[in-house]
């Protein structure tokens, strides 16, 4: 049943209609006698994307599986006050160059978005495609202070924080990191311990797991007795993950299954983990919608303070509630409601003029639902 990886088109079998049909049929047979549909949460925005882009969601529903999106989009969960602080800085300070990823520039806040902001003289906001590019900007712009506003989960944290190491080695003293670095396992724990959402199991993010490995989710099975599976990003990958979760439920033996072995090793990526341990320390971070979660954020250790934007520049990170009125992104991120339950969805909030970050990011549940689901516009 596991698709073969051919060398000519390595992913063809992982998305072919035939493979999908067989997997869906198997899942439907497994769920047949359960009596009720299973609610599984996919943590990762890229999983949400695959489910919609391949058109699988309605078929999964027929097979007795309801998929709920979780908080797995760094653009979505980074609170507004990060953006507002950087907007204040770039509009008031001269010769500041803010480098950030494309989606981050469109997040709407009370002070507008980075995209609509008009920077002070000599200052600029630039979209970068990789952390290395932010560093390159610092090498090329000696007359400016370059701030890399880097947001990410475990997948991108190592490459984001590595820029600081390189900046230190290369004596780039005008390079700073505004770190918006978030950890997935504490967010899962927060969702579970709140008890607000009824979930029967998890599809764990593939690339986060490639860094942190399998053990990081063990508490879900041990403490909360819930099954889960690490899955890749092709349609068949996700279905294999779902199948594993369904079987764990039927056998009453929850564990952390790894259905993405072609990428994820049990121990994760030791090199990346070592770099994170060397340079970063956890702190109780604020998430949009989820509030303050213990030890869920990472920040530079004191010995790297020279590169920490908030410590060296006039940049005040003051936690506050700032969601625009009526926007239910916070509840969407917790899986409490779906995008269509929000009164703004598809009406006042559309991709061209988003009211909340979930409609901004390519991994945001609202944008994905709007973009790929027939009838979205009509609600």
């Amino acid at each position: 049943m596991r698709p073969k990886t051919s060398s000519r088109d390595p992913l063809a079998h992982w998305r072919s209609a035939n493979t999908i049909k067989v997997l869906l049929k198997t899942i439907a047979e497994e769920t047949k006698n359960l009596g009720k549909p299973l609610r599984l949460m996919e943590i990762c925005g890229t999983h949400t994307m695959t489910l919609h882009r391949s058109g699988l969601k309605p078929w999964l529903q027929e097979a007795g599986i309801e998929m709920v999106s979780g908080p797995g989009c760094p653009v979505c969960i980074t609170p507004d006050f990060y953006h507002e602080a950087i907007i204040d800085l770039v509009t008031s300070g001269e010769n500041i160059l803010v480098a950030t990823f494309g989606d981050m520039t469109r997040v709407p806040t009370r002070k507008g978005s980075l995209q609509t902001t008009v920077p002070a003289s000599g200052s600029q906001i630039k979209i970068v495609y990789s952390p290395e590019e932010a560093l390159e900007l610092a090498r090329q712009n000696f007359d400016k202070r370059v701030i890399f506003f880097g947001a990410g989960f475990e997948t991108t944290i190592p490459s984001i924080v590595y820029t600081v190491k390189k900046a230190s080695q290369q004596n780039l003293e005008a390079f700073f990191l505004l770190a918006a670095l978030w950890l997935i396992p504490p967010a899962i724990e927060a969702i579970l311990s709140s008890g607000e959402v009824a979930i029967d199991g998890f599809i764990y993010p593939g690339h986060v797991s490639a860094v942190i490995g399998e053990r990081a989710y063990a508490f879900v099975a041990e403490k909360y007795h819930l099954p889960g599976a690490i899955a890749g990003f092709e349609p068949a990958d996700i279905l294999l993950g779902i199948m594993s979760v369904v079987r764990q439920i039927k056998q009453g033996k929850p564990r952390v299954a790894n259905e993405y072995r072609r990428v994820v090793k049990a121990e994760g990526n030791p090199q990346a983990l070592a770099l994170m341990a060397e340079m970063l320390e956890p702190f109780d971070a604020d998430w949009r919608g989820l509030g303050t979660i213990p030890a869920s954020g990472l920040r530079l250790k004191p010995e790297w303070a020279d590169f920490e934007a908030s410590k060296n520049l006039n940049l005040a990170l003051k936690p506050q509630k700032t969601l625009s009125s009526g926007c239910r992104c916070g509840e969407v991120l917790k899986g409490l409601v779906g995008p269509r339950d929000c009164p703004l969805f598809g009406q006042a909030c559309v991709p061209d003029s988003p009211r909340g970050p979930c409609m901004v990011s390519y991994e945001g549940a609202c944008l994905i639902e709007y973009k790929y689901s027939a009838g979205a516009k009509k609600k």
């Binding site: 209609a17 049909k21 391949s54 309605p58 495609y129 991709p351 061209d352 689901s373």
Partner: protein
């Protein structure tokens, strides 16, 4: 204060709103209100204009010179007109090397010859350094009508064709900017669509050059204009092997990547296989394919649907936000 944003020129919904809310109330008239690629003038003529600001100005497979001629010619062709005369206006940044300008003019010369059109009037402006980026070009084209798009005649069963692999111009530009530090064999598909003109007399009901917003946006726009939903099959959409690999790595949906020498056609059901054979004989459209059809069973009016390679069904929305400005 409301300001013009890049997205208002990106070809997406914000641009359509801008045209509807700002331009038409001020300037609208019977001909302009149609918002076609070209205005169809009472005397059997078609008139179009386009400005070109591509960055970088030279890219694999073409340059701003080939683009500014082919783009305007193609707009006339898909409106049913044989291009006859062009105008050319140059806005040049002070300091541009003459050698660069000569190279662009040579491209323009070659491309006009290929399209059998002449440039009969023009204008040159030079602006101070920093007030433009190297060179911007505007062309206008006048053509004589050979046929007429008939969107109202489109009905269930009619076939949807593309004239070749899609997305190569958009990807070539993206890679030429070297933001991804990735090299590829991909070249822009920038080319004339003049060869499609005879199809207006062979059963073509509608044509559109696939530019900004890509195939998906053209399909979404077509669906809004006609009375039936559309369904295309992902597996049937021609994509080059090199492009497949690159979009996989970059995580880009190829259906939203621009072309500059490909068209989407809707043809009568009865003529479809003949037209496909005719297209395949031409080297410029050897990889043409029927990718779908106009529906009366699946979907609702106004919807463009995609049958995915995994067998699912999803909606094709027009491009909404453009993170990579100035591709044409």
């Amino acid at each position: 204060m409301k300001q013009v944003s890049l997205e208002m020129g990106s070809g997406g919904r914000l641009m359509r709103d801008f045209i509807k809310d700002q331009l038409l109330p001020a300037l609208g008239n019977q001909l302009l209100n149609e918002l076609h690629d070209s205005a169809i003038l009472p005397s059997g003529l078609a008139l179009t204009t386009d400005s070109y600001t591509v960055d970088p100005i030279f890219f694999p497979g073409g340059d701003i010179g080939t683009l500014c001629i082919n783009g305007t010619v193609n707009d006339l062709v898909v409106s049913g007109a044989q291009p006859e005369y062009l105008s050319l206006a140059l806005i040049i940044e002070e300091g541009l090397e003459i050698e660069v300008l000569e190279k662009i003019l040579l491209s323009i010369k070659k491309t006009t010859a290929k399209n059998r059109v002449g440039i009969v009037t023009g204008d040159t402006k030079v602006v101070p350094r920093g007030q433009a980026d190297k060179i911007y070009i505007n062309t206008a084209g006048l053509g004589r009508l050979q046929g007429r798009p008939q969107p109202d005649k489109i009905k269930a069963g009619d076939k949807i064709l593309v004239t070749g692999p899609v997305g190569e111009h958009g990807l070539a530009i993206m890679l030429a900017r070297n933001n991804f530090q990735m090299s590829s064999r991909i070249k822009s598909d920038c080319a004339p669509l003049l060869f499609l003109l005879p199809l207006w007399k062979k059963g073509s009901l509608w044509m559109r050059d696939i530019t900004r917003g890509g195939l998906a946006s053209v399909l979404a726009e077509l669906a809004e204009r006609i009375s039936y939903p559309l369904l295309v099959e992902e597996n049937k959409i021609p994509l080059s092997r090199a492009l497949r690999g690159a979009v996989e790595i970059l995580g880009i949906d190829p259906l939203y990547l621009a072309c500059e020498g490909r068209a989407l056609l809707v043809v009568k059901e009865t003529e479809a296989s003949q037209i496909l054979t005719w297209l395949k004989k031409n080297p410029a459209s050897r990889q043409a394919a029927i990718i779908g059809e106009v529906q009366d069973k699946i979907g609702k009016k106004g919807e463009a649907l995609l049958q995915t390679s995994s067998g699912g069904l999803r909606l094709l929305e027009p491009l909404t936000s453009e993170l990579l400005p100035r591709i044409c």
